[in-house]
């Protein structure tokens, strides 16, 4: 394999700076002591972070997003593990169709999902209910969990299971003592990926949240369309920090490269 020339390395440097620029600028401006969104001097200030924590709209939206992420990721995992196992372990002629159905929220634009769910919620009187919002998020994050669970089951050596069964272990015991521990990295990785995606989701949520259930990204979107001040940068920096934290854990339990490009 030949080495990269200077032009290739320059190209790479440009792409890397392009990818990092908007994220870095948000994190730098979040620490400004000034009132405007300009690059500031060397002195740093936490005043805008303080402002965020004293702004009730952002605080309540943060808690909404956190509970929403935790509960929808958990529901998605509870649903995706048995369904993924059924698809891989008991394939029948419906499996292809079912897999397409379960993964379809990935290819349907979130905007269309938002519009469709808004119609459902209006008709059944579920608009503004946090429970229905959780189910809406569970729908869009289940495919992420299911893909990781399914890939954990595909590369699975079943000899340990067969050994346990031949020694008289019941189906439940085999699942709890052998299968579950072996696919656990896939399950926890899937849960974290689901949490990150729920925590970041904006397009569908903007249609199906009410003033009391507004999530943090939706609140930020609305705030940014009206006014732009360093408080917005501070919230964004907090979002980056939370996502980065979840990504580091994801990397530890599953491997970020495996999540992003499929194989390690």
């Amino acid at each position: 394999m030949t080495k990269n020339g200077p032009i290739a390395l320059l190209f790479n440097a440009l792409v890397i700076s392009f990818m990092l620029a908007p994220i870095l600028v948000v994190c730098v401006i979040a620490f400004t002591p000034e009132n405007t969104l300009t690059i500031h001097g060397p002195e740093l200030s936490l005043r805008w972070f303080k402002a965020v924590f004293e702004y009730p709209d952002f605080v309540s939206s943060f808690w909404n997003s956190l509970w929403l992420g935790l509960s929808s990721a958990t529901i998605a995992t509870v649903i995706a593990v048995p369904a993924g196992m059924a698809l891989i372990r008991y394939p029948n002629r419906w499996s292809g169709l079912l897999q397409g159905l379960f993964l379809s929220p990935l290819i349907i634009p979130h905007l269309v999902l938002g519009v469709a769910l808004l119609r459902l919620f209006t008709l059944i009187g579920g608009a503004g209910s946090f429970g229905w919002l959780i189910l809406a998020h569970a729908l869009v994050v289940t495919p992420y969990t299911m893909r990781l669970v399914m890939s954990a089951l595909i590369g699975f050596d079943r000899s340990a299971e067969h050994a346990a069964m031949s020694l008289g272990a019941s189906k439940t015991t085999v699942f709890l003592r052998i299968t579950l521990p072996m696919i656990l990295p896939g399950i926890t990785g899937g849960w974290l990926l689901a949490f990150i995606n729920s925590f970041d989701e904006v397009t569908m949520s903007i249609f199906v949240t009410s003033p009391s259930t507004v999530t943090l990204p939706v609140r930020m979107y609305m705030y940014a369309t009206e006014s732009i001040d360093p408080m917005m940068a501070a919230v964004s920096a907090l979002m980056v920090a939370i996502t980065a934290g979840a990504m580091i854990i994801l990397d530890r339990v599953y491997g970020l490269d495996r999540v992003l490009v499929g194989r390690s």
């Binding site: 792409v15 990818m19 600028v25 379809s104 929220p105 970041d200 904006v202 490269d257 992003l260 499929g262």
Partner: protein, 305 residues
């Protein structure tokens, strides 16, 4: 399992345990999939069906959509009004341009990353792909700070006495930010297909006196073509339905399809019309995906046969 079912079919008094086992083995996967099927039916199929029905309902500005009525008026309005044509055309060319830029930048970037040495390779790959996980609202806000009239880029340019340029709330801002969001979706499939290339084949071409350019064009490029094509498909589809980027960087004037639907729903309150546009967006997305898949299949059948 097949043995158990034949016994229960031929022997009249089959042992109940075997029969039960056969039934439970057949229904077990359905029990396991039941929650997922329920979720997808209630939260996906039913809402989509309701939206299709809604898009055919007559709309009255005072009372809202009239249930039980049937009209093609909204589809006619959308497909004949030049106001919508302008937005459809903008959505189409912006998505096409973003796809093109992602191919031109993402493919060489994946190739360069693939040639890097051990620690750098995965570090750089992660830096390119990790922004994928950061909320698109945060990234749109970051670009609005970079591109604004007093933003970093205009600030840097004014140091050289150039500018300021109006970039925020223009199509340029939308394209730049969309490329930032979509680039990982191009790098991932190209990277994946680069992993499948046997380096021995490239070396064989080089040892047979092919120039590096020829090897790249005749060996590497054909093999990463499927990756580029599926990347283009994802990038185009996601760009055409993107909402937060045009919403925050295009301002109120420069609408794309998604922001148009949002306005119909939350400002005009004309839900049936919004539903009709949303369904057209979904149909266009699905049609492009299926058409693209067909084209790729034909290409590769031709290449193989």
């Amino acid at each position: 399992m097949s043995a158990a079912s034949t016994t229960s079919a031929t022997v009249p008094v089959a042992p109940p345990s075997a029969a039960q086992k056969a039934i439970s083995n057949r229904s077990l996967p359905w029990f396991m999939s039941a929650p997922a099927i329920l979720l997808c039916s209630v939260m996906l199929l039913v809402p989509l069906l309701l939206t299709v029905l809604l898009s055919f309902n007559a709309f009255d500005a005072d009372t809202g959509p009239k249930a039980g009525t049937f009209t093609l008026e909204h589809y006619r309005a959308v497909l004949t009004d030049p106001y919508y044509y302008e937005i459809f055309w903008r959505t189409f060319w912006i998505s096409g341009l973003v796809t093109l830029i992602c191919i031109v930048v993402g493919t060489p970037e994946a190739y360069i990353l693939n040639r890097m040495r051990k620690p750098w390779r995965s570090i750089m790959l992660l830096v390119v792909l990790a922004p994928l996980m950061i909320s698109v609202v945060v990234r749109a806000f970051g670009w609005s700070m970079l591109l604004g009239p007093e933003g970093l880029i205009n600030g840097a340019l004014s140091a050289f006495g150039i500018g300021p340029f109006k970039m925020l709330y223009t199509e340029t801002a939308i394209v730049i930010a969309l490329v930032h969001v979509m680039l990982p979706f191009m790098v991932i499939p190209v990277w994946t297909s680069l992993q499948k290339i046997d380096p021995g084949v490239v070396n064989a071409a080089l040892s047979l006196n092919a120039s590096p350019t020829t090897a790249l064009r005749r060996i590497v490029l054909p093999q990463i073509m499927p990756g580029m094509l599926s990347g283009s498909l994802i990038v185009f589809g996601l760009s055409a339905s993107s909402f937060a980027i045009p919403g925050l960087l295009g301002g109120r004037r420069l609408k794309m399809m998604a922001t148009l639907i949002y306005d119909e729903y939350l400002h005009e309150l004309n839900w049936p019309l919004g539903a009709a546009i949303a369904l057209l967006l979904l149909l266009a997305n699905l049609a492009i995906m299926l058409g693209w898949n067909r084209m790729i299949e034909r290409r590769y059948k031709k290449a193989l046969g």
